[in-house]
Amino acid sequence: MAACRALVSRAVLPLHFHYVSRGVMLTHVREKKRWMKAYTLIMERKRKMEGPPPPKPRSQQTNFDYHAEVEAFGARVQERFSLELLKTAFVNTCYLRSEEERRRALGHDLETTALNLKDNGELCVHGQEFTKGFLSDWCRGSFPSLPEEGVAAVVGHLTGSEVMCHVARNLALEDLTMSAEFPVPDETLQGTFFAVIGALEQSSGSVRAGLFIRDFLVTQLIGKDLFDMWKVVDPMGLLVKELSRKGIALPEPRLIRSAGASTVLPLYFVGLYSDRKLLAQGPGETVLAAEEEAARVALRKLYGFTENRRPWDFTAPREQLQKPSAQALSSR
C-alpha cells in the first residue's frame, strides 16, 4: 500500500488512486483524469488559505447518543449516578439562555413550549463547597504541620481552573457539557465539574464523592513541589516564625561551598544551622539566592512536603476517609 502510494506520488504509475483511508487505497479507476491535478491543487490552496477547519463539538459529529454517553460516563468512572441529576449537572445557564433566544428567534411561543431543563447552578455551588471542604480536610490530615495559608494555597491550586479543566477534558466532560460556546470556556467547564461532583454526592453519598475527588484531583498533586502552588515571598521570615513557634534556635546562614565566584556562572551552597546543627542547605547563583533556597528546603522539611516522603496510599478506600483526623500515612 505504501509502496503503491509512493510510486503514484513519484508519478511512476500514471494512475489516480481513490484514497479511502490510511490502509486502503483503490487503484481501480478507469483512466487518468485530466481535471484531477488542477482540482487537487486548487483544494490544497484553499485549505492552506483558510487554515484548519474550526473545531466542532462532539455532539454535532456523527455517532453521538447523549443518553448512552451519559450512562457510559458513569460506567467509565465506576460510579452509579442518578441520571437526572447528572444530566442537570451538565446543563449550564448560558446554554439555557442561548436555547431560549434561539426558540424565540424561531418564533416558538415560550409559554406553551417551555424549556423544562434545570440549571446546574445549585449543584455547582454544592459541589464546590464539598470539594473544598474535603480537600482541606485531606490536606490537613496528611500534612499536619502545614499552616492555613499553605492548605488554602494547595486547595486553591487543585480547585483552580487549570487543574480542573485538565482533568475535566481528559474525563470527556467537554463532550457532555451543554454550553453556549464551543470550545467550552474554562470557567464553564470548571463549574460543570463541580456540578458533577455535587450530583455524585447527592446520588451516592459523601464517601463515594470523596473517593472520586481523591482519585481524580488529589492525584494531580503527584510530583508537584509545595512552592509551585504556594507563592511565598519571604521564606526566611516564615522559617524564623515557624522555628520560634516551635522553640528551636533561630537559623544562622553559613556559606558551605562556592565555585567560580569571580566567573559569570557562580554557584554558592548556603547551609542554615540552628544551634550548631545543619537544618538544610540550598544552592544558588548568588549568596542571597542560595540562602533563600536553603530556607525553602528547610520549610519543605518542616511541613513534610519533601520528595522522599512516604507516598499517599491510594489503594485503601474505606477506613482512611471515615477517620481523616486519625491518619498519619503521609508522614515525613
Binding site: 565555585a259 569571580s262 516522603r309
Partner: protein, 182 residues
C-alpha cells in the same frame, strides 16, 4: 533528617551542571598520578552525568609544579622529543632540562597525553591552570571549590623526626664504643 536532594526549582539544575574549581598541590608528588587525577576531572568523568559530548568538565588548578618528584631515574632517563618538521630540528630534552626550561611543562604534557585525542582536548587544556609555586592570583583563589587529597603520602626526612622518635626506633645491633661509622 529528611530530603536534602534536588526538588523542582531551577537552582538545583544549576547546581548539577555548574563547573567546580579543584586545587591540587603537586609538592613531592609523581607527575603522572597528578596528571591522571587532573584528566579525570577535566573530562568530567567524576560526575554521574558524564557524556563525552556534554562538556561538563571542571577547572583544575595545580600549584607547586616546580616541586614535583619523579620516581626512579626519570629525571635523567625520561626524554621529551619534538620535531617541527623542518630538517635538523629534532630536539630531545631530558626531563631535568625540560623542567629547568619551564617548570609547568612536564605536568602539562602529561595531562595533554592523558586526555581523549579529539577536538575537546584543547578546551579541557584551557581549563587546566598550572602554577610553579604556591602563589596563586586572586581571582583564581576566589573561584576554588575544594582541594583534592594528594595521591602520594610524602615520607618524612630524617631531619623531620624528633630525637625521641629516633631513640625509640628499634636498633638491629648495638655497635661497640670505638666503632667508626663511615
Amino acid at each position: 533528617m529528611g530530603c536534602l536532594l534536588p526538588q523542582s526549582p531551577h537552582c538545583w539544575q544549576w547546581a548539577t551542571f555548574a563547573r567546580s574549581w579543584f586545587l591540587i598541590d603537586a609538592r613531592m608528588q609523581p607527575p603522572g598520578k597528578i596528571a591522571s587525577m587532573c584528566s579525570v576531572r577535566l573530562q568530567g568523568k567524576h560526575k554521574p552525568i558524564y557524556h563525552p559530548l556534554s562538556d561538563i568538565g571542571d577547572h583544575v588548578v595545580v600549584m607547586n609544579t616546580r616541586h614535583i618528584a619523579f620516581s626512579g631515574n626519570k629525571w635523567e632517563q625520561k626524554v621529551y622529543s619534538s620535531h617541527t618538521g623542518y630538517p635538523g630540528s629534532f630536539k630531545q630534552l631530558t626531563a631535568a632540562q625540560m623542567h629547568k626550561k619551564d617548570p609547568t611543562a612536564i605536568i602539562k604534557l602529561a595531562v595533554y597525553g592523558m586526555l581523549p585525542k579529539n577536538l575537546t582536548r584543547r578546551t579541557m587544556m584551557q581549563r587546566l591552570h598550572l602554577f610553579p609555586d604556591d602563589v596563586l592570583p586572586e581571582d583564581i583563589l576566589k573561584n576554588l571549590t575544594e582541594e583534592l587529597p594528594q595521591p602520594r603520602e610524602i615520607p618524612r626526612k630524617l631531619s623531620e623526626y624528633t630525637q625521641e622518635e629516633r631513640n625509640a626506633f628499634p636498633m638491629l645491633w648495638t655497635p661497640p664504643e670505638d666503632y667508626r661509622m663511615k
